[in-house]
Symmetry: C2
Subunit: 410 residues, 2 copies
């Protein structure tokens, strides 16, 4: 008998028929003798419908009240699933964020989990109940409802799994696992059987949308074994787990692509200490999240700084650039939304050399110019012109042989 946490996303609970489908899947796992905790999102579209209502009233709605509003989405689905399971003869009980409680800080709209008390859930499981948990929501120390931000239900599921010491956390979604790259870009994309937590983390931060980045980080820190699989078929899915030595033998596990970033360049900056600090502290104050940063020192006593931000933050970042242009002695502030960040990810990079060279060579062969380069221990990212993004993904996917079961370098 295992303790399993399952999470179903918005499309999986999009209407009453789909909720009935989820109930059947939960019941089947229960019949196998497992203890089940099910974490749900709101019906697909519901969170946006509620947000649209609030924003039609006020451009910047009070964040506390926004959380009161949007948290109703999951409240509806958990009650409906519990009622559906009841109609099938199973005893089920729903938990809202404040009922567990899942305690967070007071960062309304993107709160961080500080504590989760699993005692009541455990008691219900011991009495033979199926427990249904409203994802995405928590309660702050002052008794206010909070929400965890987009994709937060994944994080709720992992947190519940960690608190209960679950044997497995299954993330059910509308894709059947984690792929070597986006299958819409190349039909040679291959589903992975396993992937390491760190690789998954790099993939999430590189544009792969299959798992919420904070959920992956939480799973990694708490050693929660995750499976990503489809609600709509019985395929095995992908196990996200501790990286084992030479897992699957791959050097490169996946190619990711993010086309939602934009590039800002400050040219001819004074080449002296403190200039970069001034620029990026102003961006941070304006809540602009910066991804890649590249600085080149020229020989004329001046330097260029280029950084990438979310495309939706480009105007804000440009304004800040203009504002401090004179202070930092910049010649010009240039913005470019026409970029893509292509990344290759693989835990095996740690022990193989020549991976970066192979990436740059592959792009060069396709006549794709590299504008920026950034590397981590297990990832290499290149910024290129947006129109080449699919070509680059296909070329890299082929070059590293990701359509084959494993690639051992070379």
């Amino acid at each position: 008998m295992a303790l399993i946490v399952q999470k179903y996303g918005g499309t999986s609970v999009g209407d009453l028929d789909r909720i009935a489908n989820v109930a059947r899947k939960v019941a089947a796992r229960c019949d196998e003798g497992n203890k089940l905790v099910v974490v749900l999102s709101a019906m697909s579209g519901e969170t946006d419908r509620l947000l649209d209502m609030a924003r039609s009233v006020h451009e910047l709605p009070d964040e506390r009240e926004l959380d009161v509003l949007v948290s109703t989405g999951e409240q509806v689905t958990v009650a409906l699933l519990a009622i559906t399971l009841g109609s099938m003869g199973y005893s089920a009980r729903s938990y809202l964020g404040w009922q567990m409680p899942l305690t967070t800080d007071s960062g309304h709209g993107s709160a961080r989990i500080t504590e989760l008390d699993g005692a009541s859930i455990k008691a219900d499981l011991d009495e033979g109940r199926i427990v249904i948990v409203a994802g995405f929501q928590g309660i702050d120390p002052h008794g206010n409802i909070t929400t965890l931000g987009r994709g937060g239900s994944d994080t709720s599921a992992v947190a519940v799994a960690a608190a209960l010491g679950a044997d497995l956390c299954e993330i059910f979604t509308d894709v059947d696992g984690v792929y070597t790259t986006d299958p819409r870009i190349t039909n040679r994309a291959r589903k992975l059987d396993r992937i390491g937590h760190e690789e998954m983390l790099e993939m999430a931060s590189s544009g792969a949308k299959v798992l919420h980045i904070r959920a992956v980080g939480f799973a990694m820190n708490h050693g929660v074994p995750l499976v990503v699989r489809s609600t709509f078929d019985e395929t095995e899915g992908t196990l996200v787990t501790h990286e084992e030595a030479n897992m699957e033998g791959e050097v490169v596990s996946a190619v990711a692509c993010n086309t939602n970033e934009a590039k800002v360049t400050l040219t001819g900056l004074k080449d002296q200490p403190g200039v970069a600090a001034q620029v990026f502290s102003l961006l941070a104050d304006a809540n602009v999240v910066v991804d890649m940063i590249v600085q080149n020192i020229s020989d004329r006593g001046a330097t260029d700084i280029t950084f990438t931000v979310a495309e939706s933050d480009l105007l804000k970042a440009m304004e800040i650039g203009q504002r401090i242009k004179d202070t930092v002695g910049a010649e010009a502030v240039l913005g470019d939304p026409d970029i893509a960040k292509v990344s290759i990810i693989g835990a095996g990079m740690r022990s193989y050399s020549g991976v970066a060279a192979k990436m740059f060579f592959t792009l060069a062969q396709e006549s794709i110019n590299i504008q920026m380069i950034s590397t981590s221990e297990i990832k290499i990212s290149c910024v290129i012109q947006k129109k080449y993004s699919e070509l680059a993904v296909r070329a890299l996917h082929d070059a590293f042989g990701l359509h084959k079961e494993s690639w051992h370098g070379g």
Copy 2:
């Protein structure tokens, strides 16, 4: 500076425009220097939409989960009103049932209030905030969400007013006050400026739908002054208050009519002790609420018992009658859904005689046969054939001169 509790029903918050209208009314009262607590229902139709979803899944949904589901309706409106007031520059904070907390028993779907802690609300009011309270919902001692039953938001409002010692509780609805009778039946119906708590209670139990019966009882027991008025115009409304000596001087204040009852008769019962007890304890066990009961003793050693129940309970009551027919020695069990209960209500009846006679005489003049009679201290009810109900209401309204400012008997 007064502390005012306002309650707005479902049609008053039916869409974003109407919520904006409520916000303007609240703001105006606030600008006059008052402290405001606003209790809201769900958008009109929303509770039914949620109930329909649940019932399409399961005929008898789990009651705990049903309360989790339907309580989202008020959660949406309180957040939207708080956001709307925020957009107008007012500081507002919403409270759900569990956040106050408003404690109830565990009677899901029709829970009774056991305690209300107004400390947090008071603190918010003292800091200059407008407080918005989700009506209809509470929390039981085990931390489960409960709801108070249909019309429960009225009760929430009165409970909040009582807990805070409010100067006034205003019930905003889609009618502009309490009338001498249903204005749809006679255009001679007149709005009352004042009515006593007890009279209002008898009216509510006699079929007048303007106020929830439990809210009136609560207001009476806690001495909360209530005003019933329209959300959609500035008319003064009706003050429901402690009965004062000869208030407005009327003997009869209103005529009410309930066409949703049915009549059951057991004929030829053994005329011996315990027979009635057997019948009504079985009905109580089956949760059939009995309204009027009339028993006539005949001279042939047998008796007839007639009682009224909600029309929706008629079949259940008939079945029970059939089941114990032999035990209690009844000749027949007769059911009749074709009835109406017409009532005249007035605190002044206590000190005037001849009121009942005048009622019976008025009905006789219209050739309306009286099937059952039941009286309380301040009410006389007659069961008649349903088709005569409007005629009876108009005749009684005229006979007691209710279209005129006051009627002093005679």
